[in-house]
Subunit: 462 residues, 2 copies
């Protein structure tokens, strides 16, 4: 048996898969300031029209333009690896496969959509993109994509990550991007928050507000905003992960997996792997699909499903999603990419319908899993990815206890070479876990009371 299943470039998927076409209940539309579904022209100052159309599409398969594939070939198709060394260590009868998304030049799955978004913007005549970044993976990915496609790039990086990860900023600079800590003094949104909370560690919600403001206020009209997760078109671009994995499992002689696992901050990495298999589940396959989040930022496991803004300054349309409230500032845990107050509407819709079984872990358990991983499989994973590994280990141990030969598939979303400060804290015993107190959750979700209500969704048979 080969330890890794490789596809040729000629075997790369040539279409993305759109879950919106197959969800049992149609997704709830985003709402504008007037409480009514937004129209494409309302989004036009923020995104190019080709991506706005993609965002609203319910077409099942969408062609991947050749120039995007030409860049993805640098690291795609990505290997599907069998974690034989971890299996041996756990003495599990489960066969553990992971899709290795750490091999892109930016080090994570993020370039899958960064390249696509930069391409569509370029085709639409846009010359400059703004964005936010949490852990820095998304900022690096967009900087990389803009460098290769010849666009300018401006990144607002959540301050806690900016301070913890100075090298992320340097990576973006190598690719020619401009990166500042958020909240910054460059935008109204940033200045307002700094006046109220000068010592804030920042949040993705704040950084999104700044990046959108910087895009829509550019007088040249040649700047747009780019989001690294949450939205439908972003998740769509990531489905190449799961589509490749499906082909590769076949090559490995496997049918469908029994368990699919991914960490979820905004939801794009998880969705990228899981959505193509969710289609099988909708069609009757028996698959446990598990998005994993930090206990410190329990969006899927404890927050209500409601209409809320995607950013702190309420500049985005209202999205129907699990949300901790748009003003929620999560504690400075090390998995910076999992500190978002909301979650992708498509992922949330599937959760409400009972298709996914979300789970949360404390960061200390995740780092423990990451060290086990490093000493068995050899690689140092991102703190975000360690959440998926923790769940995978639990599922593999369960399979051992049940004596079942399960197939477990998870997404290895990125490497942790830029995130070693968190490992340092864990290894030196300075890491603490955080359980969100119920009263804090109540308080942070109070803002939802004044927003339009999401209608109750019927749950499916899964």
């Amino acid at each position: 048996m080969e330890h890794k299943i490789l596809l040729r470039e000629s075997e790369i998927p040539r279409q993305w898969y759109n879950l919106a076409a197959d969800l049992p209940t149609p997704p709830l539309p985003p709402l504008g300031p007037n409480g009514k579904p937004i129209t494409p022209d309302m989004l036009a100052p923020v995104f190019p029209m080709n991506l706005i159309e993609q965002e609203a599409s319910t077409q099942r398969w969408i062609d991947i333009p050749e120039p995007i594939l030409d860049i993805l070939y640098r690291w795609r198709p990505a290997p599907l690896r069998r974690a034989v060394y971890l299996e041996k260590h756990l003495k599990t009868p489960a066969r553990i496969y992971y899709k290795d998304e750490s091999l892109s030049p930016a080090g994570s799955h993020k370039p899958n959509t960064a390249v696509a978004q930069a391409y569509y913007n370029k085709v639409a005549g846009i010359t400059r993109l703004t964005t936010e970044t949490g852990a820095g993976q998304w900022g690096c990915a967009l900087a990389f994509a803009c460098a290769l496609l010849g666009l300018e790039c401006k990144v607002y990086m959540v301050r806690i990550s900016f301070d913890q990860k100075p090298f992320r900023k340097l990576m973006m600079q190598v690719w020619g991007a401009n990166c500042v800590a958020s909240p910054s003094t460059e935008t109204n949104a940033g200045r307002t928050i700094l006046a109220e909370m000068p010592d804030t560690p920042g949040s993705l919600g704040i950084a999104i507000s700044e990046a959108i403001e910087a895009a829509v206020t550019d007088p040249t009209g040649k700047t747009r905003y780019s989001l690294g997760s949450v939205l439908n078109h972003v998740l769509l671009h990531q489905t190449i992960i799961g589509l490749e994995a499906k082909q590769q499992l076949k090559v490995a002689g496997e049918k469908l997996p029994d368990v699919v696992i991914g960490c979820a901050g905004g939801g794009s990495n998880f969705a990228g792997l899981a959505f193509p298999f969710t289609a099988d589940k909708i069609n009757g396959a028996n698959i446990d699909i598990i998005p994993v989040e930090p206990t410190a930022c329990p969006t899927m496991t404890r927050a209500p499903f409601a209409y809320d803004h995607g950013d702190t300054a309420c500049m985005t349309p209202l999205l129907a999603m699990h949300t901790l409230g748009h003003a929620f500032v999560p504690p400075p845990i090390h998995a910076g990419g999992l500190r978002y107050h909301g979650m992708a509407p498509l992922v949330c819709q599937a959760i409400v319908e009972g298709l996914f079984a979300p789970r949360s872990y404390h960061q200390s358990k995740c780092y423990e899993s990451a060290l086990t991983w490093a000493k068995t499989e050899g690689a140092i994973c991102a703190p975000e990815t360690s959440h998926a590994i923790a769940a995978t280990i639990d599922e593999a141990v369960k399979a051992r206890e049940e004596g079942k030969e399960k197939v477990i598939l998870f997404s290895y979303s990125g490497h942790g070479l830029m995130d070693l400060a968190g490992y340092d804290k864990y290894m030196s015993g300075q890491l603490s876990d955080y359980e969100l107190p119920e009263e804090v959750l109540q308080k942070s979700t109070k803002v939802l009371e004044n927003l339009p209500k999401a209608p109750a969704r019927k749950t499916g048979r899964w």
Copy 2:
């Protein structure tokens, strides 16, 4: 055409290639303290006997034990990539291929020999390894290998790198190794040097002295020393790089390359790629083989070929090599892996025979090449690797000027994600170049006068 040529695990080379079998003139033997060739038992306190035998072997092909391959499969066979985007940027008719050694968990080519050495030591009953590291790539590689094979690992890291790259130490810790700055107060060699030069940036020569002392003075007898480059057996283990590349060029429809390029500090990465092609050159093929070093540490391009110690405290046997003198402390350039005073004897022998054409570059030109690489091919390379890229760009431009469709092959020895401080210095205009003054060279090589002389070597017809 595919952008990367992949081999299946079943196609991995199962034997290493030993250039010592084919060199036109037999290599000069290492000499002991008495000036006579050393015997295997003199090395026994330092290395296990199975590696000592390999060091002295003149057998052309040596089998790779299965348990070593089983670990190498984590990232091998490594991709051979075509640098199509750089080719376009340079408008060159040359076809540029590079062997991507950055995908190992430790991020460089070093694990190819680290795994082999840890394995042979384990088989010989050794439980603990000591070593030195310059840039940190070797220390990480040995820490990784020891973690997977269950050995203890102690690393002496050159102080300038230790200070510039705190995350390298953390990587080693994740794999369970113990890493200290060298010179340290833990050894006689370290204490002696600290007493003379308390502010020294350190050097590989000093760190080697400390690591050897720590190995040979362990009263349990279960500790040995492991070297990351220079020695014959280390170069041997790296030939898997060139052997894979040769198979992959065939798959790509190429015959032999016209130009082979690698950066050379101790010589193992360069030799790993170049030696299998050197055999073709000895047999008549017309190949330019170019080892590249920093102008600031000009071992191959300016230093004499002489017998010298491999370390500063004169604990190693005398090796016949190009050497700047064992007490030479190179300036703190950012390519920490290219700051060694000597060079692998097998590489030097081939240089003397005229098989290789060494070249040196200033670090500013190398960083300029690294930025061009990042913005065309997308990846951020190690400062060491940037030397090979600088030479590759020069050769590709030359091919354009000559209008020749050359095939250029180089070794992409590692990624630069742990080395961003150097990029920062370059991008902010704080980097300076250094040309070794002739009088400093004269002074540093004066120590060679009191050592046995290397007999003159006849040069070949290349």
